[in-house]
Symmetry: D2
Subunit: 466 residues, 4 copies
């Protein structure tokens, strides 16, 4: 019977579409995921129609109850999706006809598939953004705990993957806290542009019915109604912006994943990830592979791809709706799934990881203190550039003689500059760290301050949820 | 002498780099564009150093004045950039040595190239975002004027590029007003994440000097200082987010460009663009080609490419700074240039365009009123689905007989449904438009309301600039 | 029991992976598509092991028969895939243990999952390339037929979407024949790099068994064996190259789709696509939307996205295998499916399309002959540049006076140049077409030659299949 | 005067273009790079015109000589490019008018800018492909030398960046030889599709002149002439395919760069790159940063971006030429420059690198031999799966007790399986390497064979150049 409904839409055509065309056109295999949004939107739409006297109240009740039954059918897996009904909207509508008869047809009053699908996608995106934010907040909470627990651990800080200056491990961890905080902020900005109610735009030109769009918006929790009906059905900015924020967040995860992979090598040996996040090899019995981190790193590619795909789809499309835009869904759903699962997996992975503080410390070469030696000379009155010059030669001498900086004696130091005194030999990793006490620097006191503000933010998350 | 300075940095190396390596490493050919930002940042940095007693006040004055001279040299085109000095920062520093001697070396106290370049890029991006917003506001002002002036013009509205329902030309124009408004909002969101002051992060670990980062931030107009030194030098989110907002905006322009190209065809003939935006052909003397619109459409590709390039660059990079990140600049500069020039060109193009209202009207087939005929039947009590079914058959009959809808007589109509009365023949384009009076719809009254709110927004732009 | 097998692989771990990690790691939901390849590869591998005396012949027979049973189970839909067995390889292996007991373990001798998956993907890609080529050949055959049938149809040729010069419709159609011929050639080039046998590379270092790789390659129809075991398991070039060739082909289809959409508008009206490839609207009963073409155009975005995704995944990956590379599959499978279905749908769509030759002719403005008027003057001795200049002014005069070129009289022509004679009025669309008789030009004789060579190529396809 | 020429082209327009539109349209700032191609093409075109009697031979000689003078002017930097002449073609043409007067106008006979630019780009791309291939061949020659010289060096082979099995360093190096060989093959395939002569296609429809396209093709070294004039001016496949091959090659370089960066860390310490390829830090005097490798890795992003830009540009473009296609140039030129310089820099970098064989050996943990222990048990009759299981437990026991595999005694081994005999303790890194003697494996004899075939290939390169 559903097919008959669709056939009706094709009233003016003589030939039916083949199965392969049907498969090509169908979005039901993936847009079934919008069923909750679709049903909710339809219920509120029908309620508004009744309130405005466009349909009788009794019809609204029938429609609402029919849709509720369908919701339960889908929730429980009893619903039979039909490819020939193309999309989730027609599948639900067709079933509604079966359940309540011709009254079902009234639901389509003052609504087009164009504004309906825009509504469903916005509802879905809003929920997804909320879930992403929650996942990131959860991760940030874990990062703060780790930073606090390991406040005494010193590790080599890197630039160019060369040992640069010693830093607190906690300071390094909190760099990711900052990244994820920006991600949260970006999704929240995006949300303000998602949360606009498009229903009531009709096919493109608006509606010849006295609809109450504000009512629908209010009931569905939207911040505002869309201002232009043509734009409302042509716009997929919110999908692209969401995918772009996702791409940046995946990029952050890929950097973290890279570090976890690096630090898990035999050569670095800084950490050991939990067994629950590692896999073995079918060939090499000794292997403990950080596959979860590798996949999180790799999956950045997938999300970048979805972003590009959607930018490409929309490029050069004339107004208003074009079928190309149906391509927004699969990539978006996969973006949401990939992002949320990657955040959760990486969060679990990080929480499971044991830190080898001794190895971190042991791995630092004395040369990592060269900047401190230069700063020492600046303290004696050299310009930084001159001090840098002197210390470069000291380092060069030490490396050339296979010696560590702290293995040189004061006479050797004085050979490079008279300004060196015995206390140059007292420069240590810990002193180096504590010296960097500028705002946002790695000195313990500064990092503790950062932890405190991070905790305030984390507590804010919790309150937000209440 | 500049070279000697750089040579000093290479103190510990035995071998110098070749010219080809120099060329490969050099960013001076493009990052010279940061010279104003770099000089301004250095001046404020030096002022702060003096205020904090890190360098003598006299040294600050020398540095400030020296930098001012360099600014004038560059502004006037007298400055000699040297590839072997690699980047804008070393070029300026080297010149400062020439002008004020060894005091120049003190400028590098409590600063690294890593936080310096981050500062410069943020200053540049902030200014660029401001320019983009201003350009979009200018475009929006033009769109509102056009919408107001042409409020009586009716054109075919399209979905799937098939004539769908008649709409006001002004309504169509205002769809772009909405798009650009979202773009403005997106750049403003982005600005809040750009406008964070990174200086004082050192190479990655913070600084062993009593710097006053808040002073620097305040003086340079930043909203806040960065919270984590490692993150501050590793972060290029703001570039990527800017490029993503740019990509979306270029996508909007590409849609507008596509429509202008379409409407300029002999077949559509809806508009004629100004001669000043057209080119001719070297072969075909009759041609008036909309090259500017074609380029604007094509340049979406370039901006997409820059976005994806930077996402790729940052993927999987361990903290903190890596030289890969130097790749942020060329693509970003080109994004800014392309976006601003494309907005300006398209704005001028649109302003130059003559609208052929008669042709728009003439081109509309009667079938475009089929929805109104269906709505007519809904008014008589059919469900929309049923009405749609009836009218499908009417249309099919008319097309099959090579007749327009308004060429059918009432008897023929009644053959499809008894509900048809004579007044069905009175449905006109204008009535169709006026019927769609839902909020955000194409009815004249609604569009006028939209124009009024658009004008309020446009006036807000002006006030913002004061 | 399968789980136990996997558990054995995890022998050295204390903790098991959670369900969410399992889901994150699992490729079984998509790599089940490799089952035929996997089973075939395993059968030949086992045969080789037996031939080389590495396993007893009896074991080979057991393995071969067991695998054959599994093939039948999967073919018939009776096979139970288990997520916890992660991938298709472990699913099959585990079932083989159930069917033939511990002998199944011998199949893993002298093979790693790393070279096994490389083999499966190459077998799959080879078959896919063949299918793409066949689909393109089929499309080309249709194009040739259409070109031949419509050899008399003249249409406006466009540059910048402005009417440029009249061309034969067949000539335009054959432009696509050329594009698809290049696509075929590109896939064939790609095939030469796909068809290399990787098995025998072990995990990365080669194998400590006297394997006969040439035998396996020969039996499986490969052109050669891979030369370096580390490269063999690290290489996904063939996937990327395939996706790149697919992206170009989808771009071609998107251009064709764009033209079909344009030509189907009320304004162009050049063609009418078959009902079987059109959809209607839920709101507008008159609509006949070219949705299939729109989707084909939009799906270019998806394939571009998969290409970018895989390039991103592979960027900066150290040798040899990394788990990131598992991300090759979903995008690749979707690329293959999308490409083949898009070719087939577009081919059917094109075949279903009615051509409105009268409308094409009627739509041509006289100005389209301006180049011929210029060529006329060149024939009289002007340089082309001078002739172009004269005709520009003629066209400008005609447009300004709302006249067509052939509505001007000879006196008016002579006002622009004395060289004009009466015969300038005899320039017609057909003469214009026939004049362009250079090799590859639009003159009927030339197009007929092109059709003849195209038919030779098409016949070559057929022979190739025999 | 040049402007006057251009003005002539605009004969039918009343208004001139502004400077900003001029800048937007102009390609001269970058397409000047085509000047040699353009001049050469014009000379051969004029020669053909004379041979065919289309222009007098004397005119040809004037044109040829005039063009030769222009070539010398540009070569020597004396040529004055003018933005208002838009592109390289008009710049040269305008200068030709200055040099030889109105005869210059004849050069434009039987040629359009559309086929002219297609010709120039194909000539440029052909030369570029040749240079890329030569650069890759040069790199491969260096790799073979390095592989030969270091044949005794054993290093850890990795999967998942975990130590997997010992391999010869030379074997690892030769994996890159394979990648670059595929790149060469890919560029050669691409070349076969580049080297097609488009001139003679006119604006889109072919030419009304008796041109001899085969003559032009032969003279310019093309393999064939294009078959369809519409396709010939609409086709940019060869640019995209070139960029795609470049993207894959940059991906290979990025993998090599990543390994160089990794191996240069203090933690790996496998290599030391030449000073000439390293940079220091403005802050940290001890730093030796592998900036060249980092940039090569980062520049993959740029090339990916250009590829996607061009795919985006071409998506959905109707035939034939559209101005969007002008966007092909900048990205393509930058792709060529980036790719060639990256190959050359990485080749020099690799050649400059010192290998620390002792450190490579020392870094290997005994667990890297676990597969060999499993293979040992297979030799005793276990299935590989069973052997893997036993050795997993051995490794787990050793790690748990902080012991290396070769620190366990035979009694402990026998606790896991009776099959262990004393000779299990005799498994060494070298034996492990030599055992993997399958074709393409890491055993010294196999690697030597690979070196021999690589040398044959390298010698082939040399002959090819003769």
């Amino acid at each position: 019977m559903g097919v008959k409904k669709e056939a009706r839409l094709r009233g003016r055509f003589k030939e039916d579409i083949s199965e392969s065309v049907q498969r090509y056109l169908a979005s039901a295999p993936y847009d079934w995921r919008l069923y909750r949004q679709d049903i909710l939107g339809s219920q509120v739409h029908a309620e508004m129609l009744a309130r405005q006297g466009i349909i009788p109240r009794g019809d609204y009740v029938k429609i609402k109850d029919g849709l509720h039954s369908i919701l339960k059918e889908i929730d429980s897996g009893r619903f039979q999706f039909k490819l020939e009904l193309e999309d989730i909207h027609m599948n639900i509508e067709s079933r509604l006809f079966e359940l309540i008869g011709e009254t079902a047809g009234k639901l389509h009053t003052a609504r087009s598939r164009n504004d309906q699908v825009a509504l469903d996608m916005r509802l879905f995106a809003r929920e997804a953004a909320g879930k992403v934010v929650a996942a990131l907040q959860g991760f940030n909470s874990v990062l703060v705990e780790i930073a606090e627990k390991n406040i005494k651990v010193v590790m080599p800080g890197y630039t160019h993957l060369q040992q640069a200056q010693p830093v607190l491990f906690s300071h390094h961890v909190l760099a990711y806290f900052q990244m994820f905080s920006r991600d949260i902020s970006r999704f929240e900005s995006c949300l303000s542009r998602i949360n606009i109610m498009p229903l009531g735009s009709g096919a493109l030109a608006g509606l010849p019915y006295p609809v109450d769009r504000e009512f629908v918006a209010g009931k569905l929790g939207f911040d505002d109604v869309s201002a232009n009906s043509i734009d409302a059905v042509s716009d997929r900015d919110f999908i692209i912006e969401f995918e772009s924020a996702s791409a940046i967040c995946m990029m952050h995860l890929s950097r973290l994943a890279e570090e976890i992979i690096l630090w898990s090598t035999a050569e670095f040996g800084f950490i050991e990830i939990g067994d629950a996040y590692a896999t073995s090899s079918s060939i090499m019995p000794q292997k403990k592979n950080p596959d979860t981190a590798e996949l999180a790193r790799g999956k950045a590619g997938r999300v970048y791809g979805h972003l590009l795909a959607m930018l490409t789809v929309m490029k050069g499309l004339p107004l208003a709706y074009n079928r190309d835009m149906q391509e927004d869904k699969e990539g978006f759903f996969d973006t949401v799934d990939t992002l949320i699962s990657s955040i959760d997996i990486m969060c679990g992975l990080v929480a499971s990881t044991k830190i080898n503080a001794a190895r971190m410390k042991y791995s630092m070469q004395s040369y990592i203190l060269a900047t401190d030696v230069a700063d020492y000379l600046v303290g004696k009155g050299l310009s930084f550039r001159e001090a840098h010059d002197v210390v470069s030669r000291v380092v060069s001498y030490a490396i050339g003689n296979n010696r560590e900086l702290n293995e040189l004696d004061i006479k050797e130091y004085k050979g490079f500059s008279k300004m060196f005194e015995k206390d140059v030999l007292a420069i240590t990793l810990q002193k180096s760290v504590e010296a960097r006490s500028s705002q946002g620097g790695t000195a313990t006191a500064e990092v503790k301050k950062s932890i405190e503000s991070a905790k305030v933010a984390v507590n804010g998350y919790a309150r937000q949820k209440d």
